[in-house]
């Protein structure tokens, strides 16, 4: 059995889809953030896999992943800051309650 690229891509895609599912279904904002991390991570895997399998001579995919990890960290930090802020104001981080503005 040959472990071709698709064997790596599909798990990553499933990871991404799990993230999507989590984002849409979770109530806790931090859980949503966790789902987002999954999605970002799946993207990273994709880049790495493409780099390794298709374009092994270069490092573009790897570097993208490297930077993407940094970006993810920054995003998470800021997002958590905002969420904590919300928690301070409303003592609640249920995303469903964050819908004062609509229509």
């Amino acid at each position: 059995m040959e472990l071709t690229m698709i064997y790596y891509l599909i798990p990553s895609l499933i990871m991404f889809c799990c993230g999507v599912y989590g984002f849409i279904t979770r109530r806790n904002m931090i859980a949503i953030l966790i789902s987002l991390e999954l999605m970002l991570n799946a993207v990273d895997i994709n880049f790495v896999v493409f780099n390794r399998f298709l374009f092994p001579g270069e490092m573009e995919g790897m570097f993208f992943t490297l930077f993407a990890i940094g970006l993810a960290a920054a995003e998470t930090a800021l997002a958590i800051a905002i969420i904590i802020n919300v928690f301070r104001v409303s003592e609640n981080i249920d995303v469903r309650d964050v819908n004062k503005m609509k229509h």
């Binding site: 953030l33 880049f47 493409f50 995003e75 905002i82 919300v86 964050v98």
Partner: protein, 488 residues
Amino acid sequence: MDYSQFLAMRQEIGLLIVFLLVFLYDTFMPKKALNATAGFTTILFLLFTAASFIWGNIGDVDAFAGMYSTSGVCSMIKNILNVGVLIVLIQSCRWANGELMIMRRGEFYELLLVTLFGMYLMISARHFLLFVIGLESASLPLAAMVAFDKNRYESHEAAVKYMLTAVFSSAVFMMGLSFVYGLSGSLYFHDIALQLGSSFNPTLVVALAFVIAGVGFKLSLVPFHLWTADVYQGAPTSVTSYLSVISKGAAAFAFLVILVQCFGQFYSMVWEWMLYALIIATITIGNLFAIRQNNMKRFLAFSSISQAGYIMLGIVGCNEMGLAAMMYYILVYIFSNLAAFGVIGAIENQTGKVEMTDYNGLSRTNPWLACSMMLAMFSLAGIPPFAGFFSKFFIFTSAINQGSIAIYVLVLIALINTIISLYYYLLVVKAMYISPEEPQIATFRSACSERLGLWITVGGIVALGIVSFFYDSIMEAAAGSTIFAFVG
């Protein structure tokens, strides 16, 4: 390793210098001097804007092996954004000097400048990594800015919504990028275009859809727009005005660059039709939502969504004329929308009222504010002789330049939508001028900075169209651009 390549990035470096100066000023100056932060930043930025106009354009230069590129058009759009930011700075002086902002004044300016830097990167990036970093720089600090009104719950809610959707969007965007990378093996725009060749496949289409979604999020195209209204409504008015014009302008330009430079050869097969669908949906849905709004900021949010659809018409033509029309549209849109936000901000700062019903009879108590607002509305609606008419006309012209019957139909739909948009813009005019009810807002004198901002924007609304210099010079820059070299 040629570090002198950084010199190609004059405007970015200038902006970073401003950022650093503000940062240092804010960090090290005594508390008393902090009251002058607003003025300091504004003047500094004014100098930077002027300098950027004078020395910003260094012609077509590619740096970092094609990762970064600047050209006449790029520096032009950056200058346009600078002008917008300058107006935003002027208009936000009063708000920034307010009680609430004492602790965060400097941070506001710093974040604002960083986001502008991010937009610069979006505009000039010719490599997706740099682009993503630009995109994130342009959106993450904004999330913090949205949350600036600590006393208003809406501000926090807006920040959460913005943050979460922005990250989701960037995840989807990067997913698309990974596909593109898988197909082409490169993240350089130039290489992508070369590697992709001219054959397309489902992977590419899906990748393209994800990329469009990611950038469309910044432009708030339907259906990637849903955050817009809530965020605009919740954010402090100054931030909203910044968000609605500057970030949109940068995104539109970047969108064009990506589509044309990476996927130019798939124009007529793939993304032309995607854009048709998006434009129709964007304009129509934006308009339909705008009809019902009462909150002025939310109203302008939906109006800005439909405006984004019109901006897209400049892309769909996919030629220099469209580029020029789009940039001109952005310029005019900056002035028109900022005029409207200027009035909203002035009234909100004075009375805290942002509902359309509060504007009833405004013309009787504050005729100048009402007049500015009316001109802004006319300009947004595309009524001559105000600039909005010209920009709309040119953008339609540039779209039709493409020549197919489909584009006529598209433009017709867009034109019919202008009627709906005219309706809701006139609703504001009606509230201010026609409504017989007692005025809700007493006569007041707005702050100097607000008036200055309004004078500038109103002057722009009147002059930008009638004086052909602006369009001509934009067109000149666009005509010389090499952006469209890859269009197949």
